[in-house]
């Protein structure tokens, strides 16, 4: 009797049964399910106030403390680059506006405070919240409505504005100074967000080029690419690892290290802005992906143009090409959701 065929049949069936069992493990969880966390953030002042310079005036922020939180998964990149972030009640700052021309009447200090949680973002108008601006003893209360804002100066009845109108009141010489100051204070949030996201971009560049930077001598420039088209000339972007702090992380990029980013008319396509100037980062505390993470860094903007168009030696700071100065501290902390 030929036994090879029954043996072959047995072998085929054995393989078939083994593969049935093996395929049952297709449902096994191979990816650790994401762990939801709350990320608390705080954007705060350092020694030199964060400032925005325009052609007719400059404004600087002191006692800056913008805080809030957002939901994420553990290990996600810690970032405020999202459609909007919610500023907690009591977030605020003092904005000091200094005129640069005799015609500019907006002058003085206002205390900006979020009185009801306010959602803000670049290219995003808040849909909820309220804030106040205390200027020269008068409180201007700005309440977000479905169509824009209701602005009440002191005890006067509120006036309604669309967002674009309210944002532009800062430059409206026919508007009251209280309203102009409230508008100017609100507009400074954009400066904080742009500076924050620029710092985050630099940190992303640092992490993406970690191996290259660690393979170079401290202070050596690493050339990065800009998004300039041929019509826009050669934008320049340079990254330097300037301080390798002593301690356990010495020799590699880690805690308390410092960096410098230099830009020359470098277009950032994501932001549709040109950068020209320098940014220093220090007290670097990189996010740790192993556990609940903390990310922090101090940012120092050195006469940095953040412009909608190419800059040159004659470029005047304006609404479309503001110049940023000063310092800002970023701190993000992941917290377990109980």
């Amino acid at each position: 009797m030929n036994v090879s065929k029954p043996l072959g049949l047995g072998l085929i069936w054995a393989v078939g049964i083994i593969t049935i069992i093996a395929s049952s493990f297709q449902d096994e969880e191979t990816v650790t399910p994401p762990v939801p966390v709350t990320v608390s953030y705080l954007l705060s002042s350092l020694t030199t106030p964060l400032a925005r310079e325009l052609e007719t005036r400059s404004a600087e922020l002191t006692v800056l403390s913008l805080s809030g939180s957002y939901n994420a998964n553990q290990g996600d990149r810690l970032t405020l680059e999202r459609n909007s972030i919610e500023l907690d009640t009591n977030s605020g700052f003092v904005a000091t506006v200094t005129p640069k021309t005799m015609d500019e009447l907006l002058d003085g200090q206002t205390a900006f405070e979020v009185t009801v949680a306010l959602d803000v973002g670049l290219g995003h108008n808040p849909v909820a919240g309220q804030f106040s601006s205390l200027f020269s003893g008068t409180t201007t209360l700005v309440t977000v409505t479905a169509s824009g804002v209701d602005v009440a100066v002191g005890a006067a009845a509120p006036e309604s504005f669309g967002w674009s109108t309210f944002v532009a009141i800062e430059d409206d010489t026919n508007a009251t100074l209280d309203m102009r100051m409230a508008s100017a204070a609100y507009n400074m949030i954009e400066v904080v967000l742009r500076a924050t996201q620029l710092a985050e971009d630099i940190v992303a560049d640092i992490e993406a080029n970690k191996a290259s930077l660690e393979g170079m001598n401290i202070g050596t420039t690493l050339a990065l690419t800009c998004d300039n088209t041929t019509d826009e000339g050669d934008g320049q972007s340079r990254l330097l690892w300037t301080i390798d702090a002593a301690g356990t992380g010495q020799g590699v990029i880690g805690d308390n290290d410092a960096f410098e980013a230099r830009y020359g008319d470098c277009r950032d396509a994501t932001r549709s802005r040109y950068l020209d100037g320098e940014v220093l980062l220090d007290s670097y505390d990189p996010a740790d992906i192993a556990e609940l993470s903390i990310f922090a860094v101090n940012v120092d903007l050195r006469s940095l143009f953040v412009s909608e168009t190419l800059t040159d030696i004659d470029t005047t700071p304006s609404a479309s090409s503001p110049r940023f100065n000063g310092q800002l501290a970023l701190s993000y902390t992941e917290q377990a959701i109980p």
């Binding site: 069936w13 078939g16 049964i17 049935i20 069992i21 049952s24 493990f25 297709q26 449902d27």
Partner: protein, 133 residues
Amino acid sequence: MKRWSHWYPHVVAATALLVGCAIYLFVRPASVYYAAGPIPVPLGGQLPSALHTLAFALLGSLMVTRHSMAIAVIVTWGAIEMLAELAQHALFPVPQTLAAYQQASTFDPADLISIIAAIYIAVLVTRITRCMT
């Protein structure tokens, strides 16, 4: 020299195995064999059962010479596949040695239908092949 139609079952079985492997590699992210994707495939959940049944039924049928025996082998293999699928149901009594298999797998009534369809196709392929050779 054997006629080309003699190789029909071999070709169909090999193709079914290759496509089945591809589904695990590229379509099912939950699979431990998953490599890339996912590429959406209609019936991606049931196709592997059907393809596995078809391939092993045809390969088994090649081990016997008589047509009636080939059909018997195909139907027997189909029964084994049905039992394996039913054993994935939590209420189906299984010996302790198969407890891990039952826990790790997911019973799907649609798989039973796909197995029946595969057996029907295997019988058809076998009949066509044996008629032509």
